[in-house]
C-alpha cells in the first residue's frame, strides 16, 4: 500500500537532486557546528572543539555517499556517474580503448554476422500460415538409396483418399519454359502447383489473385502468377502486368496475380502455373503412368495430429501400395513413405554447418574476452592508486566494482557498434553463402532479434571481461600508500588469473584451429578427387528446348545435329558435344531399371543411371574410353541400338566378364541395346559422391538433350558469344543460359565446403593472433615486474641465454598446459564435424600434429620478444631501481 507513495517520494528526490544536496550540506554543517559548540562549552579551544567534532562525526563525504545511496543513487544517478567516470577513463587512455574495441569488435562482429544467419534460417518461424503444421511427404527407396523419389499423379490421388492424418495435400514441381511477349524470348523457371498451393502456404497475393480450383480443370484458360522478384526485375513493379497475356508453350497465358515478397518454397521461381497448364505434367502418358514421379508433395497435419502419427500413417499406405502394385514397387527395393516437418526439411542442410560456425565464433569471442580481461588486469596494476584514492573519498567496494564493470561494458558496447558495422558489411557475402544450403537465405538480415543479440553479447562480454579484474581489485588505501612504486603491484591472485586466461585462450584456439584444419584438409582431399574428366578449356551452357516446339524426336535430333555441325565448323573449337546435363552441375540421377540378356529375370531388377551423349562427348570432356569404342557418327537411328557403360557399371553387373557385346534393355521394353564400350568413371553428382552405374546412349538414337559442351583451343570463356550465336542462328527464340566453364562448374560444386573451410580458417586465424598477442602481453608484463629479480640473478652470474630460457619456459609452460586441454576439448568436440568432413576422420592425426606445431611455433614467437627483453636487462640499472 505504501509502495507507490515511496516510489513517488524517491522519484521526487531524483528530480530535486541539487536541492537535496544543498539541504544535506546545510544539515550536516549545522550538525557539525552544534557539536563543536557543545565541545566548546565543555571547555575546549575553538579549534580543538571543531576537530573533535569532526572526528566524532566520522567522514562527512562518507555520510554524503550514504545519503546519495539512500536517495536512489544506486540506480539512475550512480549509473550516470559511472558512465561519466568510464568515458573519462576511456578518453584518458585511447590506445588501450582502441585495442579493446578492435579486439571485441572482431569477436562481436563475427558473432553478429553468424547469428544473423542462424536467426534468419533456423530461429525465425517460417513466414507461412501455421508453419508448425506443414509437412513434406516423401517416397523413398533403400536400393538403390533414393532419399526422395517424387510422386506420380496416381499416387498423389491415392494419398489424398487414404491419409487420415494429413489434409490439403498439394503438389509442386518446377519446369523451365520459354516465355514470349516481352522484348526477347526468355527462359522462365516455372513452379507448377496445385491450385490450393498458395492457400496451403498461407500466402496471399500482392496483386490480383492466386489460383482457383477452376484454373486447373481440363481446357481451362491458362493463367500465370508472377513471383515478386521476377515482377520487380522484369516489369519494374508495374501493377498493370495483371491481365497481360504472354505466349508460353504455344498458347496464351494470362497473368492473374503477383506474389508478395516472401521467400518461395521449395525453390525460387519466376512464375507459377496450375498443374493442368504444364504440357508435360498434364499429358495423358504422364498422368496414366504410376511410375512417372515428378511431383513433390506437401501437406498440412490435421489438427491435433503429430508428425510421428503422420509418418506411421503414410508408411502404412505405402505398404498397401506395394501389396496392390507389385510391378511398380518391386519387393526388396525398400519402398516406403515418410513425412518431415517443413521447418526441418528447409533447414536440414544448413543446420550442422551453421551450428559449427556459431560455435567457432563463440570461441573467438571468448578468446577475445580473455585477452581484454588480461589487458584490463595489467592496467589495473597501474590504477590501484586511483582506486585507492576513490575508496578514500568514500566510494564503497561495491561501488568501485560497479564502476569498473560500467567501464568495461562501455568498451564492450563500443566494440558491439564496431562489430555491427563489420557484420553489416559482410552480410551480402553471408547471404550468398547461405543460399547454397537453404531457400531461407533471403530472410537473413539485421533485424530486432539480431540487434538484441549484439546488445546482449556486448553487455555479457563487458561483464565477463570486466568481472575478473574488478574482483581482483582490492583497493586498500594503506597498502597502496605504503608501496612507493606502482610497478610492484600484482600479487599472486591476479598473476594466477592471467596465467589461467592464457591457458584457456590457447585451449580454445587449438580447438578452433583443429576445426579449421580438419575442414581445410577435407576440402583439400575433395579437390584431389579425380573427377574422371579434364575440366580445363571446356565451356558448357544450358539449352533447354521449348518443349512444345520440339516435342518430336525428329525435331530435337535435327536441332541438335545442326547445332553440332555449326559448332564443329568453328576453327576455335576443338570439339563439341551435346548431353543431357553437365557433370557436377547439381543434377539428379535418371534412375532406370533394366534387364541383362541371358540372365534370369528377377523380381528386383538392377538399376542404372541413363545418360544421352553425342559421339564426341567423351573426347570433349576428356573422359577415358577404357575398352571397346566410343560412339561414332554411324550410330544413328538406322543403325542397331548401342550403348557405352562406365567402369562401375561393368564391375557391378559383369564382374570379371567382358561386358562388350552383351545386350541390355530397359524395364518393360523389348529392344535390345548392345554394349560397345566401357568408359572411365566420372563424379557426376558431386566430388564427394561415389560414381554410380551409368549407361550412355547415343544422341541420334535417343534424342534428348539439354546441355552443350565445347572444348576450346584457348581461353574457354571467350567462346560464350560464339556458342550463343550458333544457337540463335538456328532458332532466335531459343534461350541459352547458365554459360559456365567446366572448371567453374567444378569449383561451384565444392563452393559450400570451401566457404565453410575459409570462414573457419579466418576465425581460427583471428583467434590465433589474439592468443599470440595475449601470451606476449602477459609475459611482457611478468618480465617488467620481475626486472629486479632478473637483475639480481644476472648480478649473481646468470647468463643471458639462461634468463631467456627461463622466460621462454614460463611462457611455453602456459602454452603446453593450454595445448593439453585443447587436445582433450578438440577430441570431444570434433565429432560434431563428422558430417561435414570428407575423406578424413575427425581425429585425423596429421591435422592434430600440424595444428599443434603451428600453435607452438606462433606461441614461441610471441614469447621470444619478452624473453629477449628480459635477457637485455642491465643488472646495474635494475638494481639501482630496486
Amino acid at each position: 500500500m505504501a509502495a507507490p507513495r515511496k516510489l513517488w517520494f524517491r522519484l521526487q528526490s531524483l528530480g530535486r537532486r541539487r536541492r537535496l544536496e544543498s539541504e544535506l550540506d546545510q544539515e550536516l554543517a549545522l550538525h557539525l557546528d552544534l557539536e563543536a559548540e557543545k565541545n566548546r562549552s565543555a571547555g575546549m579551544s575553538p579549534d580543538e572543539a571543531r576537530r573533535s567534532a569532526r572526528i566524532s562525526l566520522g567522514g562527512v563525504e562518507q555520510t554524503k555517499e550514504g545519503m546519495r545511496d539512500a536517495w536512489g543513487a544506486t540506480t539512475l544517478e550512480a549509473l550516470r556517474q559511472d558512465v561519466r567516470y568510464g568515458l573519462r577513463s576511456i578518453r584518458q587512455n585511447p590506445a588501450f580503448a582502441a585495442a579493446v574495441v578492435l579486439t571485441l569488435g572482431l569477436g562481436i562482429g563475427a558473432n553478429t554476422a553468424i547469428f544473423s544467419v542462424v536467426n534468419g534460417v533456423l530461429l525465425r518461424p517460417l513466414p507461412y500460415g501455421e508453419p508448425e503444421r506443414l509437412v513434406a511427404v516423401r517416397q523413398t527407396l533403400t536400393t538403390p538409396p533414393t532419399p526422395s523419389l517424387g510422386f506420380s499423379e496416381k499416387e498423389l490421388i491415392d494419398y489424398r483418399a487414404a491419409s487420415r492424418t494429413i489434409e490439403d495435400l498439394v503438389e509442386y514441381h518446377t519446369m523451365s519454359f520459354t516465355l514470349l511477349g516481352g522484348r526477347e524470348a526468355q527462359r522462365v523457371q516455372t513452379g507448377v502447383v496445385s491450385p490450393g498451393f498458395f492457400d496451403f502456404l498461407g500466402v496471399r497475393p500482392l496483386l490480383g489473385r492466386t489460383f482457383r480450383a477452376d484454373d486447373d480443370t481440363h481446357g481451362a484458360e491458362a493463367v500465370l502468377i508472377l513471383s515478386h522478384g521476377y515482377w520487380m526485375r522484369r516489369h519494374g513493379g508495374d501493377p498493370a502486368v495483371v491481365g497481360r497475356v504472354f505466349q508460353m508453350n504455344n498458347r496464351p497465358h494470362t497473368v492473374v496475380g503477383v506474389l508478395p515478397p516472401v521467400p518461395q518454397f521449395p525453390n525460387e521461381n519466376d512464375v507459377y502455373m496450375p498443374s493442368s497448364a504444364c504440357p508435360f505434367r498434364s499429358s495423358d502418358g504422364t498422368r496414366a503412368n504410376r511410375g512417372a514421379r515428378l511431383l513433390s508433395v506437401y501437406g498440412r497435419l490435421k489438427p491435433g495430429t503429430t508428425v510421428e502419427q503422420a509418418r506411421a500413417d503414410v508408411a502404412s499406405i505405402a505398404t498397401r501400395f506395394s501389396a496392390d502394385n507389385p510391378g511398380t514397387y518391386p519387393a526388396g527395393s525398400g519402398f516406403t513413405t515418410t513425412a518431415v516437418k517443413l521447418t526441418d526439411e528447409i533447414t536440414l542442410r544448413a543446420r550442422p554447418t551453421l551450428l559449427v560456425l556459431l560455435g567457432a565464433v563463440g570461441c573467438v569471442l571468448l578468446i577475445a574476452c580473455a585477452n581484454v580481461a588480461n589487458l584490463m588486469l595489467s592496467r589495473m596494476l597501474r590504477r590501484n592508486r586511483e582506486l585507492a584514492m576513490r575508496a578514500a573519498l568514500g566510494a564503497g567496494r561495491v561501488r568501485l566494482v560497479r564502476q569498473l564493470l560500467t567501464e568495461s561494458t562501455l568498451l564492450a558496447l563500443l566494440g558491439g557498434v564496431f562489430g555491427l558495422a563489420l557484420a553489416a558489411a559482410g552480410l551480402d557475402l553471408l547471404v550468398a553463402f547461405t543460399a547454397r544450403f537453404t531457400t531461407r537465405a533471403g530472410e537473413v538480415g539485421i533485424d530486432g532479434a539480431v540487434l538484441g543479440f549484439t546488445l546482449l553479447a556486448s553487455v555479457l562480454t563487458g561483464v565477463l571481461f570486466g568481472a575478473l579484474p574488478a574482483l581482483t581489485a582490492r583497493p586498500d588505501l594503506a597498502e597502496v600508500m605504503k608501496q612507493e612504486s606502482t610497478r610492484a603491484g600484482g600479487g599472486y591472485g591476479p598473476r594466477r588469473a592471467r596465467g589461467l586466461l592464457v591457458v584457456s585462450q590457447v585451449a580454445f584456439s587449438f580447438m578452433l584451429l583443429i576445426a579449421a584444419g580438419l575442414m581445410l584438409r577435407s576440402f583439400w582431399k575433395l579437390q584431389q578427387v579425380d573427377p574422371g574428366f579434364r575440366p580445363e578449356n571446356v565451356l558448357t551452357a544450358r539449352v533447354s528446348l521449348n518443349w512444345t516446339k520440339y516435342g518430336e524426336d525428329g525435331e530435337r535430333r535435327k536441332f541438335g545435329q545442326e547445332l553440332l555441325r555449326r559448332l564443329e565448323s568453328e576453327p576455335e573449337l576443338r570439339s563439341a558435344a551435346l548431353s543431357f546435363n553437365v557433370p557436377l552441375a547439381q543434377s539428379q540421377p535418371f534412375n532406370q531399371r533394366f534387364r541383362i540378356e541371358g540372365r534370369p529375370v528377377e523380381r528386383d531388377l538392377p538399376t542404372l543411371d541413363a545418360r544421352v551423349v553425342t559421339p564426341r562427348y567423351f573426347d570433349t570432356i576428356g573422359q577415358r574410353v577404357v575398352r571397346g569404342r566410343a560412339f561414332e557418327d554411324g550410330d544413328d537411328e538406322e543403325a542397331p541400338d548401342v550403348a557405352v557403360v562406365n567402369e562401375s557399371f561393368a564391375r557391378r553387373y559383369f564382374g570379371d566378364e567382358d561386358p562388350i557385346g552383351r545386350r541390355v534393355t530397359g524395364d518393360g521394353e523389348t529392344e535390345w541395346i548392345t554394349i560397345v564400350g566401357v568408359v572411365g568413371d566420372v563424379r557426376q553428382y558431386g566430388l564427394d559422391r561415389e560414381p554410380t552405374a551409368e549407361l550412355y546412349q547415343p544422341f541420334a538414337q535417343s534424342p534428348g538433350w539439354g546441355s552443350v559442351l565445347v572444348r576450346t583451343r584457348s581461353e574457354p570463356g571467350a567462346a560464350a558469344a560464339l556458342l550463343t550465336r550458333a544457337v540463335h542462328s538456328i532458332d532466335p527464340e531459343q534461350p541459352v543460359d547458365r554459360i559456365r566453364t567446366l572448371e567453374e562448374v567444378r569449383r561451384d560444386s565444392v563452393a559450400s565446403p570451401r566457404v565453410t573451410a575459409m570462414l573457419l580458417g579466418v576465425f581460427a586465424l583471428v583467434a590465433l593472433l589474439i592468443t599470440a598477442a595475449g601470451i606476449g602481453g602477459v609475459l611482457a608484463l611478468s618480465v617488467s615486474q620481475r626486472t629486479v629479480e632478473i637483475g639480481v640473478r644476472m648480478a649473481m652470474g646468470a647468463r643471458r641465454d639462461e634468463v631467456m630460457a627461463m622466460i621462454l619456459r614460463q611462457g611455453l609452460g602456459l602454452v603446453l598446459a593450454g595445448l593439453a586441454l585443447g587436445v582433450v576439448g578438440a577430441f570431444a568436440l570434433s565429432r560434431m564435424l563428422d558430417r561435414l568432413l570428407f575423406g578424413i576422420p575427425p581425429t585425423d592425426p596429421v591435422t592434430y600434429a600440424a595444428v599443434a606445431a603451428l600453435l607452438l611455433l606462433v606461441a614461441a614467437a610471441a614469447c621470444l620478444l619478452p624473453a629477449r627483453r628480459a635477457a637485455s636487462v642491465d643488472p646495474l640499472v635494475a638494481l639501482r631501481h630496486a
Partner: protein, 113 residues
C-alpha cells in the same frame, strides 16, 4: 543500504529506526537534537553516528513515518525539523511492542537458561 562504518553504531538492524521514532514522539527535533537526545537518555551508551542517522531519517521519511519542515535552530540557524506522522505513531507502537517482546524473551533466557 548504507554501510555501517562505525563500530559503535552497530545497533541491531531496525533498532535505530525505533530509537528515532521514539525520540520524535516527544516532539519535533532536528538531526543533531535527535542524536544528542538518544545519547543523553542512554547515558552515552548509544552513540548515533551522522553517517547512519541522516540516511535513516531519509528512509523513515520515504516510508511516510516522519515528515520534515525547515525552521530556526537554537542558535538561529536554518535547520530541518523532523516530526512523527500518524502512520509513524502506529509504526512506533508496533515496533515498540515487538522490541519489548524480543527484549523480554532474551531477558528470560538470560535469567533462566
Amino acid at each position: 543500504m548504507p554501510e555501517a562504518k562505525d563500530s559503535r553504531s552497530d545497533l541491531l538492524q531496525g533498532t535505530l529506526d525505533l530509537l528515532i521514532l521514539r525520540t520524535l514522539a516527544a516532539g519535533s527535533m532536528h538531526g543533531w537534537g535527535i542524536s544528542q537526545r538518544i545519547q543523553a537518555v542512554s547515558d552515552s551508551v548509544l552513540v548515533v553516528n551522522q553517517g547512519s542517522l541522516y540516511p535513516a531519517l531519509y528512509r523513515l521519511e520515504a516510508e511516510g513515518w516522519i515528515a520534515s519542515e525547515w525552521g530556526a535552530s537554537e542558535n538561529n540557524r536554518r535547520a530541518k525539523f523532523y516530526k512523527l506522522t500518524r502512520s509513524g505513531e502506529r509504526q512506533l507502537a508496533r515496533e515498540q511492542q515487538q522490541w519489548q517482546r524480543l527484549a523480554s524473551a532474551v531477558f528470560r533466557v538470560l535469567e533462566t537458561a
